[in-house]
């Protein structure tokens, strides 16, 4: 089975993240880049599916040069090879444009199953899986907490607020996963050494057959018009229990319309 895992490099959520004042895009220089957390679960699921059904796991990343660190890590976890879509003209692309660019690459390299995290920790639009499935004309199986493959049928448990739905579709398909699905492995030293020799193919817009007019900040369908720091948290209200603590709490909650 030809499994492609889409991996995005995002700023480390443990560090302070900023937007650039110049064009309101992510300031990538200000924070360490790491693999988007949910994408680690996608990599793990891709590897487990390969271990169970055979085939190959390819990492697909769109991002600047420094994203190669994240690609290398994904390869050290056990993926077989990688495709890196890297081109300055992609800077500032929004979710709609990104889905176009990645769909073009997926069409070019081919896939049976494209796996990705259900959202990224930076932009958090959470629409990529749906947009890719639409552009590629294949089923979308989203928010999977469990996956089974039986011949050309994919069955998942899709998490919901009330439990889960059982959903199935046929390959080729796009699959998005949630963190309940597995526990991602850590790279071993053997994996790290092996990753140094694994092929990473770099594609430009032209290589991937992407129309430059359809990507990049200038043609983005959405724009960040303004941004501001989150206001500092205000001090909370301290309710002192002088025999009437319960009543005071109830009053407070009622005033805020919680009860």
């Amino acid at each position: 089975m030809n499994i492609v895992v889409l991996v995005k490099q995002v700023p480390d959520t443990a560090t302070e993240r900023k937007l650039s004042a110049a064009d309101s895009t992510l300031d990538r220089a200000s924070a360490d880049g790491v693999i988007n957390e949910l994408d680690e679960y996608a990599i793990e699921e891709g590897l487990r599916l390969k271990e169970a059904h055979g085939g190959e796991v390819t990492i697909l990343t769109m991002g600047p040069d420094q994203a190669s660190d994240s690609i290398r890590k994904a390869l050290s976890m056990g993926a077989d090879k990688a495709v890196h879509l890297v081109d300055d003209a992609l800077h500032g692309s929004d979710a709609v444009q990104t889905s176009y660019a990645l769909a073009q690459v997926l069409k070019k390299i081919g896939f049976d199953l494209a796996v990705l995290g259900s959202e990224s920790t930076d932009a958090r639009t959470g629409v990529l899986a749906a947009a890719l499935a639409e552009r590629l004309g294949v089923p979308q199986l989203s928010l999977a907490s469990k996956v089974e493959i039986d011949g050309s049928t994919v069955r998942i448990q899709r998490i919901t607020d009330y439990g889960y739905d059982r959903v199935e579709g046929s390959l080729p398909a796009v699959l998005s996963v949630v963190e309940k699905i597995n526990e991602p492995r850590y790279p071993s030293f053997k994996g790290i050494m092996a990753a140094k020799k694994k092929p990473v193919e770099k594609l430009s817009l032209a290589d991937a057959g992407i129309d430059p007019a359809l990507v990049g900040l200038a043609g983005a369908t959405t724009q960040v018009v303004d941004f501001a720091d989150a206001p500092p948290r205000e001090a909370g209200t301290v309710v002192k229990d002088e025999g009437d603590g319960g009543a005071k709490l109830a009053e407070f909650l009622a005033a805020k319309k919680f009860v």
Partner: protein
């Protein structure tokens, strides 16, 4: 923070360091305090360390190892100890005391029999050297082993043996007197005793000042019989063999000490930015700044010392003096940093629930285990040729 690549680490070493750092933060830090309080062995953490290949780091792939080197092990130990020393010593003892003697001195048959499980971390190995009557004076070994009908019969007691009594302990390599030389000098050999061998009893688990989530026991051997082919290496070479084991172990303990020392810096950086006194963060006061600066300087210089010793070891150069220096300065750094870090934390530093409290309890043993600081000084002086006959240096 000290997360930037430095010291010219090779890519693969730097990637490993980061992976272990991430592992320690995500898998160890949130849960280890609870194990420590209960003095319970963290089987699930050890299983995860095994799954990421840490126990196989310096061994060839043919035995289930990762094909790395001893320096890779040291980097892993440093990053683990930056968060917790109990899991770090479990790895250190499992690899450099448990599996390494089997790899280095074992026959092909012995390697094939024991190494795959030890490399996978599904089973642990231990090394029984220290006895109630002495550790440093290893030549005074009392434990005996005699051949009887194709079996070694072992009698004696070993103390403070790490990893010797867990549910997953596979074996203990014990040093024992197997005869006397012409001048009555004891002939010491190393013999592998699998867990569960009749006559091999694991005594009461110790109540320790630190390293509380690691497994340390007294071992008693009474008419304990193992097949003759459990002799590890040459008969009578046991002493020479473990000297090499100890030299390497010193570099590993130095790495672990540097981890603890750096962990103290990490904790103080965070705390001094959050904690306020007299209207500002305590990091704004020179009294705190100077303490943290000293702590960082100690951790940094101790790291350079163990990097140097490890580099010499890997290059096949003599490293006895450098290993002793690294162990001496790194354990000092750990002890000093733990003292300063608890001071920065004030009353909270005295609470077990804060990592620095654990660091304080874990630091002391570093000046004792795998050769006391006094032994390190002895070794350094001997390497310099300082002695009763006067200095060799002209």
């Amino acid at each position: 923070m000290s997360d930037a690549p430095g010291y010219g680490l090779a890519d693969e070493h730097e990637s490993l360091r980061r992976a272990v750092r991430e592992f320690a933060r995500a898998e160890v830090a949130p849960v280890i305090g609870d194990y420590y309080e209960r003095a319970a062995f963290p089987y699930d953490i050890v299983a995860k360390m095994g799954a990421m290949g840490l126990f196989g780091l310096p061994f060839p792939e043919e035995y289930g190892g990762m094909g790395g080197d001893y320096f890779a092990l040291c980097l892993a130990l440093e990053e683990l100890a930056r968060v917790d020393s109990s899991v770090a010593i479990t790895l250190e003892a499992g690899v450099s005391l448990g599996a390494m003697p089997v790899y280095r001195f074992g026959t092909e048959e012995q390697r094939g029999r024991w190494l795959p499980d030890l490399c996978a971390g599904t089973r642990l190995g231990a090394f029984g050297l220290t006895e109630p009557g002495g550790g440093t004076d290893a030549g005074a070994t009392r434990t005996t082993a005699r051949l009887d009908g194709g079996q070694w019969v072992i009698d004696g007691t070993k103390v403070f043996i790490t990893n010797s009594g867990t549910d997953i302990t596979a074996l203990v390599t014990v040093t024992a007197v197997t005869g006397r030389g012409p001048e009555g000098r004891p002939e010491i050999s190393a013999i592998v005793v699998p867990s569960g061998t009749p006559g091999f009893t694991v005594g009461q688990k110790y109540s320790k000042v630190g390293w509380s989530a690691s497994d340390t026991n007294e071992l008693v051997f009474a008419d304990c019989r193992v097949p003759a082919d459990h002799l590890l290496g040459e008969r009578g070479r046991g002493y020479a063999q473990f000297l090499r084991t100890l030299d390497e172990g010193r570099v590993a303990i130095a790495a672990l000490s540097v981890g603890l020392a750096q962990g103290c810096v990490d904790e103080c950086l965070r705390y001094s930015a959050e904690r306020t006194a007299f209207g500002r963060a305590i990091g704004g006061y020179q009294a705190i700044q100077f303490k943290i600066a000293d702590m960082e300087a100690r951790a940094h210089t101790a790291r350079l010392a163990y990097y140097d010793a490890a580099a010499r070891m890997l290059a096949g150069l003599p490293f006895k003096k450098e290993a002793a220096i690294a162990k001496l300065v790194a354990s000092n750094a750990a002890m000093d940093n733990a003292r300063d870090a608890t001071q920065v934390f004030g009353g909270y530093g005295f609470m077990n629930e804060f990592p620095v409290g654990r660091f304080y309890r874990d630091a002391k043993i570093l000046e004792i285990g795998e050769g006391t600081s006094e032994v390190q000084r002895m070794l350094i002086a001997r390497e310099l040729g300082v002695g009763p006959e006067g200095s060799r240096a002209s």
